[in-house]
């Protein structure tokens, strides 16, 4: 019954999306009744699709094996968290989650947005309905999550054991919230193009949505990076894997959009560019969804793949993005030119930031898709870290310089000399760090050296906007900028430290033998078997000693029975100044066990920085949503 109710809710929501689209079209032809009806329809549509998702979670919760999706992906004996998370730990359920967030966002826009011109808002909701409609069709015709199975099996097939990790419960909803949040920015851009109303109100209405999506993307990427780091047992934190890139590209575009929308909201400049970025940002999330779901790129993320579904998403991508870009080309020429500004100014700094972010985005896009182009010419290849690091690394460092300088610049017009004076302390700190590294830490590579130097300068420059301010009266969005920029400095320092100072040791030890890695003495005390419901493991006991302080670590080599897979469960000691990362390998048949040990000084800063960036975004969002004070008005 619940499954049928869910399916009915989904059909009704789709019907309302059609209605919403028609009403929006009528409203733009100046029908007052239609204008008044669009908002309620969008809210009800959102409520219905949330209900459909709730029904799916309910059938997973009750382990209703007569629903095909539950039978294929769940098991009655699973812990409750994985039963619930199992609802989106598969293709159909995750697409329903995607649409649910889309409906939720559309409903929220209809409910909350009061600043925008009513006609632009209605056009926005029409665009949102059009996007939702495509995905409803995809769900109902190609990926029905509520399909029944007759006869029902006695129990389910279970969830892939590798996915039985608390991270699964939170990772997809977080990233999806980011992906789909950008759809709102896209709809705002389309709405504004339709009514030719690209201006400060449009930017102010769009900004919280971009900011919200960007916070979720930041969190999703940070968490995904840490998850890959501890779960895969390879000791790396970013692999330039296509699916990772699929989440990085929307983030880069959203970061650029976040900054250009500020220029539009504050100074009424960069109109066409901001609209373009809003389209690009959502294109990147759709492209990401497509790359992940179609399986045309080889990735460590093994999803169930079906080319028919890939084709469906591709058609949606072509219609929406192609349509939006055609609208852009036809309309943006008629949008009035925004305010002009001097190259040396806050606006100029933000334009430089946008250009550099776009270059990095281009590099990542080309690197990700190049294997596809090459395959078209019959060449099989993969593009990996050597390309991405060399190509994107220097651009990213240049971006850091701009980032440090940007907040020190004044709006509209500034003098180079005055900027240099304001930047004295950051430059001094960076020079000091550079000298210190050259004297005490060489040899380290050029990129890590520059990275640490710039991180020091950026950290100093980030807090500079707080100098001379009454901290309690400083608006929250300034704090947000400070914290987010500081987060980038912290993260950059972590990346550079990891690249510069990591020591690695691959060694085979007999029980009782010891080795050294970095400042640690590591002893293999012994091995013991471990058994759980669906896996068995060999577990090593390692005693780790530094300066007389001992810790015990238990890395495992785990074998799952169904499906048969072996995974390394790394054991990590987190200390104030870094992490000791240990992985147990195979036995060599002569009583020795392979151990892989890394000492990674300050590696934790990478994720700490990521969380600071997200926190900065959250502060900024709260600051923007709270009623303005006069100080805020002066800076907005």
């Amino acid at each position: 019954m619940l499954a049928e109710a869910g399916l009915a809710a989904l059909w009704l929501a789709a019907a309302l999306a059609v209605l919403q689209l028609l009403l929006a079209a009528l409203a733009l032809r100046r029908s007052e009744e239609a204008l008044a009806a669009v908002r309620p329809v969008a809210i009800v549509q959102g409520a219905l699709v949330i209900a459909a998702m709730a029904m799916l979670v309910a059938v997973f919760w009750r382990s209703d094996m007569s629903v095909a999706l539950v039978a294929a992906n769940s098991h009655s004996a699973k812990p409750w968290l994985y039963k619930v998370a199992g609802a989106w730990g598969n293709h159909e359920g995750s697409m329903l989650l995607w649409v649910m967030i889309l409906g939720l966002a559309g409903g929220a826009v209809a409910w909350l947005e009061r600043r925008l011109d009513e006609r632009t808002l209605v056009a926005t909701l029409g665009a949102q309905a059009l996007i939702a409609l495509g995905f409803y069709a995809f769900l109902l015709f190609a990926s029905n999550p509520f399909a029944r199975l007759d006869p029902a099996p006695p129990d389910g097939a279970g969830l892939n054991p590798l996915l039985q990790d608390p991270g699964l419960a939170f990772h997809p909803p977080t990233l999806y919230a980011g992906y789909v949040g950008l759809s709102v920015a896209f709809s705002f851009a389309v709405g504004a193009l339709v009514t030719r109303d690209v201006g400060r109100d449009f930017a102010r209405a769009m900004r919280p949505w971009v900011l919200g999506a960007w916070i979720f993307l930041t969190l999703g990427i940070t968490a995904g990076s840490y998850w890959a780091y501890y779960e895969l047992g390879w000791g790396g934190w970013w692999f330039w894997d296509p699916v990772e890139n699929a989440s990085l590209m929307p983030w880069l575009a959203a970061t650029a959009l976040l900054h250009s929308v500020t220029v539009l909201a504050t100074r009424d400049g960069l109109r066409a560019w901001t609209v373009m970025l809003a389209v690009v940002a959502f294109s990147m999330s759709m492209l990401g969804t497509f790359l992940v779901r179609s399986g045309i790129l080889t990735s460590v993320h093994a999803f169930a793949v079906d080319p028919r579904r890939g084709a469906f998403i591709l058609v949606l991508l072509a219609l929406y993005i192609g349509g939006a870009l055609a609208l852009f080309a036809a309309r943006v020429g008629t949008v009035r030119q925004g305010t002009m500004f001097d190259p040396v100014s806050r606006e100029g700094g933000l334009v430089a930031n946008n250009l550099l972010l776009s270059v990095i985005l281009g590099i990542v896009l080309i690197g990700t898709l190049y294997p596809l182009v090459a395959a078209g010419f019959g060449v099989q290849l993969s593009v990996g870290p050597p390309f991405f690091n060399k190509a994107a690394g220097p651009v990213a460092l240049a971006l850091v310089v701009v980032m440090a300088a940007g907040p020190l610049l004044r709006w509209r017009r500034d003098a180079v000399q005055a900027v240099v004076v304001r930047a004295t302390w950051p430059i001094a700190i960076a020079a000091f760090a550079f000298a210190g590294l050259v004297v005490f830490a060489m040899p380290i590579g050029v990129l890590p050296l520059l990275g640490l130097t710039l991180a020091a300068g950026l950290a100093m420059a980030s807090v500079a906007p707080l100098w001379g301010r009454n901290l309690r009266r400083t608006p929250l969005f300034i704090w947000g900028m400070v914290v987010a920029h500081l987060g980038i400095a912290v993260s950059l320092a972590g990346m550079a430290c990891d690249a510069a100072f990591t020591t690695e040791r691959l060694i085979a030890l007999r029980p009782g033998e010891a080795t050294r890695v970095g400042p640690f003495r590591v002893t293999l005390d012994g091995l013991s078997p471990r058994v759980a419901d669906n896996w068995s493991a060999v577990q090593a006991r390692l005693t780790v000693e530094r300066d007389g302080t001992k810790r015990v670590l238990f890395p495992q080599s785990r074998t799952f029975t169904d499906p048969p897979t072996t995974t390394s469960e790394s054991a990590i000691a987190t200390l104030a100044d870094g992490q000791l990362y240990t992985v147990l390998g195979a036995a060599d048949g002569q009583g020795r066990w392979q151990l892989r040990l890394w000492w990674k000084p300050f590696v934790t800063l990478i994720w700490l920085g990521g969380m600071l960036v997200a926190l900065g975004g959250a502060l900024s969002l709260i600051g923007r949503l709270r009623p303005r004070r006069r100080t805020a008005e002066a800076w907005a």
Partner: protein, 175 residues
């Protein structure tokens, strides 16, 4: 002029779409292409495993005409499935050498007694060292070697019945 530039993003997007669509509709080619194709076999010398049958070295695989090099193991189930096809290839007059991976003499003897013995020589690769140097990641795999000891083709997985005639033709073409 400036108006025309506004269509550039759409053009770029359509190009991107074409690339991606091309990738989606291109038939998937599961063939693993060995980096060794066109190269001489790496140097190796393996001792015999079965009494009365010589071992195998890369030097002796040159100058004897085209032949197959089969990588197998008695403990490997797909190798059992593959055995009849190898017997047919042998019957078609194609010489087959073999490398036995991580195996023992009695096990291989019993394997050959049960399933037939198509092999001219069998090298004993206890540690998979030669297998790895050939770029082979599993059993069974078969390499087609030309008269100069160069690798022409690599077949990953068991040779299926419908492949036999193709392989015979390929070997004939090399003669």
């Amino acid at each position: 002029m400036r108006r025309h530039l506004l269509w550039l993003p759409l053009a770029g997007f359509l190009a991107l779409l074409a690339i991606v669509a091309g990738g989606l509709w291109r038939p998937v080619d599961p063939t693993v292409r060995s980096a060794l194709i066109g190269q001489h076999l790496p140097d190796f010398t393996l001792p015999p495993l079965v009494p009365g049958k010589p071992g195998l070295s890369s030097a002796t695989m040159r100058g004897q005409g085209p032949r197959l090099l089969n990588i197998f193991a008695s403990w490997c189930v797909p190798c059992i499935v593959e055995a009849p096809q190898l017997m047919r290839l042998r019957a078609a007059g194609i010489p087959i050498d073999a490398i036995a991976i991580r195996d023992t003499t009695p096990a291989v003897q019993s394997f050959l007694r049960r399933l037939g013995d198509p092999y001219a020589r069998i090298g004993d690769d206890r540690a998979s060292a030669v297998q790895l140097s050939l770029g082979s990641s599993g059993v069974p795999e078969t390499f087609l070697i030309d008269g100069d000891g160069r690798v022409v083709r690599q077949y990953v997985g068991d040779i299926r019945p419908d492949q036999v005639a193709v392989i015979v033709a390929e070997v004939k073409a090399l003669r």
